[in-house]
């Protein structure tokens, strides 16, 4: 019985991120994402937008790790508000990113909010 309980606990742990997340996160690996529960109502629409647009080119795991660790996972460079804006501009200019300036601004605001939450 004890073993089953332990296994169940480990299974639950394996589903959730192994990192200590101040911002709620679900899944792991390529399915890792921010938990919709942790997103305030005012940002929900932007969050949905982000889920559609950002995953056209990369998984949400990359974004989650950057928010959680404060570092861009590939370059290792700081992922702070200044960097978020730079990534936003990069995505604005990226051919076929299919995002206009307002959408970019909204996503940048959401990421800034997540950075603040993660820092708490």
């Amino acid at each position: 019985m004890k073993m089953y309980v332990t296994l169940a606990v480990l299974m639950v742990l394996s589903v959730y991120s192994i990192a200590e997340a101040r911002v709620k996160v679900t899944g792991r690996g390529a399915t890792m994402n921010f938990s919709a529960e942790g997103i305030p109502e005012s940002y929900k629409q932007i969050f949905d937008l982000m889920l559609v647009k950002c995953i056209k080119c990369h998984t949400m795991e990359r974004t989650v790790i950057a928010i959680q660790t404060g570092k861009a996972p590939i370059t290792g460079q700081p992922f702070n508000k200044q960097a978020v804006k730079a990534y936003g501009i990069k995505m604005l200019r990226k051919p076929n990113s299919d995002m206009n300036k307002k959408e970019i601004r909204d996503v940048v605001m959401l990421l800034n909010y997540l950075l603040d939450e993660s820092a708490k």
Partner: protein, 499 residues
């Protein structure tokens, strides 16, 4: 006991699932080394986007890597263990300095097997906490590399990849109208050593050679018509801690804005870079044995200059290049400053790069043989390129003029002036489908022709592309016996993949 074993086994399986799951994306050397997808640097490979250009100009050091993370303050990952403050250590005696004994107290502990990790003294260079250690590691991209790799400076992955081409063509005028047996296999190697030196090389493993076929019933298994090494060079990055890179080896001298393979079309190089005059083999894209110095100045100006050596010739060729970029990411891949609170403007999306170059050289007979007057050709090329990018549109303009004083290597032919120009428009239809149309004009003194080259490149996967191209070439060829018409129409369907 049995319960304990099952518990450990189950835990191990679950932990393994948590840590080892995930897919690997096996694509070439740069991608593997930097753990990025091809589209980071390419539109559809091998054509580069502006981040690929920045990577190239930064001697194959990934953008952002190699910089100290001092611009921002990375949030510290929760540090499980804070390192202890440095223990005061007794001043080393002269004896210990000679013997390298260090702290005698520690030595006694070490010999007695009683030394713990907390006893290890911190040197000024050692990070004071794990978060600081992370910051130090971010110099190499935030990855903690094994110490031996860091010390040896070798790339963690073997920096080798292959590119294969399989092409089929249709030429109405050829005896064999449909030819689907052209193929090539190229080995590529490239990377950097601790951000201090970059290297790149290509080796043509196999390419089709249709010459000398005597029996068409034979499967051509050994028809390699290759030229072995294409490029092979080393770059001393930021030589002597100044922002100048020294490149040496065999490579295409930096002249035009785009390297030979930096284009959508697989089979048709830009005429401005590839035309030749008379029997002189010189063309701008020709790999040469050279030494080049280049640098990025004020983030948006790139300057290069070099000297080319030819075997059995005691005069050198010289060249210079300069290009400047307005708008878009700069040559260090820093994004432009755009106010996201303002309305969209054309300037938000406009990128203009202008480049100019000059090349002066001599080729022909060896001039190192005593008592022999060599037939030599002195020549020069001067050209300019423009690259304009706006959202999904890209426009490339290229023009060059040249002069060869003896391109036929005789003593009678007069000097020849040559002109070539190309204009190409690209449109990104989808992220993985780009269409282009190019027009070229060449007057090399003997031949005068025009080309129209429409092409589509489609990339169902980032490391695989399918391209469909058509070349319509027409003009006249002037020679001693009169003029002949040039009329070529060739369609090509090709598949290229890298792995």
């Amino acid at each position: 006991m049995k319960f304990k074993c099952e518990y450990i086994l189950a835990s191990a399986i679950i932990i393994s699932l948590v840590f080892l799951s995930g897919t690997s994306h096996a694509i070439p050397a740069f991608s593997r080394a930097n753990k990025v997808e091809c589209s980071t640097c390419h539109t559809i490979f091998p054509e580069l986007n502006e981040y690929g250009e920045a990577f190239l100009k930064n001697s194959y050091v990934y953008i952002g890597k190699g910089k100290k993370a001092s611009a921002g303050i990375p949030k510290a990952a929760p540090a499980a263990v804070e390192a202890k403050p440095a223990k005061p250590t007794p001043a080393p005696t002269a004896d210990s300095a000679v013997q390298g004994a260090g702290d005698p107290e520690l030595l006694i502990k070490l010999k007695a097997g009683k030394m713990t990790s907390g006893d290890i003294p911190l040197t000024p260079s050692a990070p004071a906490s794990l978060s600081e250690a992370d910051s130090v590691n971010s110099v190499t991209g935030g990855e903690v590399k094994p110490e031996w790799i860091d010390l040896a400076g070798v790339p963690e992955q073997l920096p080798i990849s292959f590119t294969a081409n399989l092409n089929g063509s249709y030429n109405r005028k050829a005896v064999n109208e449909f030819d689907f047996s052209t193929r090539a296999l190229k080995l590529n190697a490239g990377g950097n050593f601790k951000g201090k030196a970059g290297f790149f090389g290509t080796y043509l493993v196999y390419t089709e050679n249709a010459a000398g076929i005597t029996n068409t019933g034979q499967t051509p298994t050994n028809m390699t018509g290759k030229n072995d090494i294409g490029e092979f060079f080393l770059i001393w990055r930021h030589a002597l801690e100044i922002p100048i890179n020294i490149k040496m080896g065999r490579f295409q001298p930096k002249l035009g804005l785009w390297k030979t393979n930096n284009k959508l079309s697989i089979t048709n190089p830009y005429a401005t870079y590839s035309y030749t005059v008379g029997i002189s083999p010189f063309k701008l894209e020709q790999p040469q044995d050279a030494v080049e110095a280049n640098m990025i100045f004020a983030n948006r100006l790139f300057i290069a200059g070099g000297v080319v050596n030819r075997k059995e010739q005691n005069t050198k060729d010289w060249y210079i290049h300069s290009s400047i970029k307005f708008g878009g990411a700069d040559y260090h891949a820093n994004e432009p400053e755009i106010d996201l609170n303002q309305e969209e403007s054309i300037l938000d999306f406009l990128t203009l790069t202008i480049g100019g170059y000059g090349y002066v050289g001599t080729n022909g007979d060896p001039n190192t043989v005593v008592g022999m007057t060599p037939r030599q050709n002195d020549y020069y090329r001067a050209g300019a390129d423009i690259d304009l990018l706006y959202k999904l549109f890209r426009l490339k303009l290229s023009g060059v003029l040249g002069n060869d004083d003896n391109p036929a290597l005789t003593y009678v032919q007069p000097a020849v002036k040559s002109y070539a120009a190309a204009i190409e428009g690209d449109y990104t239809i989808f992220r993985n489908l780009i269409g282009s149309l190019r027009f070229e004009y060449v007057d090399d003194g003997v031949n005068m022709y025009r080309r129209f080259i429409p092409a589509f490149a489609y990339s169902p996967m980032e490391n695989l592309r399918v391209s469909a191209e058509y070349k319509y070439e027409y003009g006249i060829s002037r020679n001693s016996t009169g003029a002949a018409e040039i009329d070529n129409q060739i369609g090509t369907l090709g598949v290229t993949f890298s792995f």
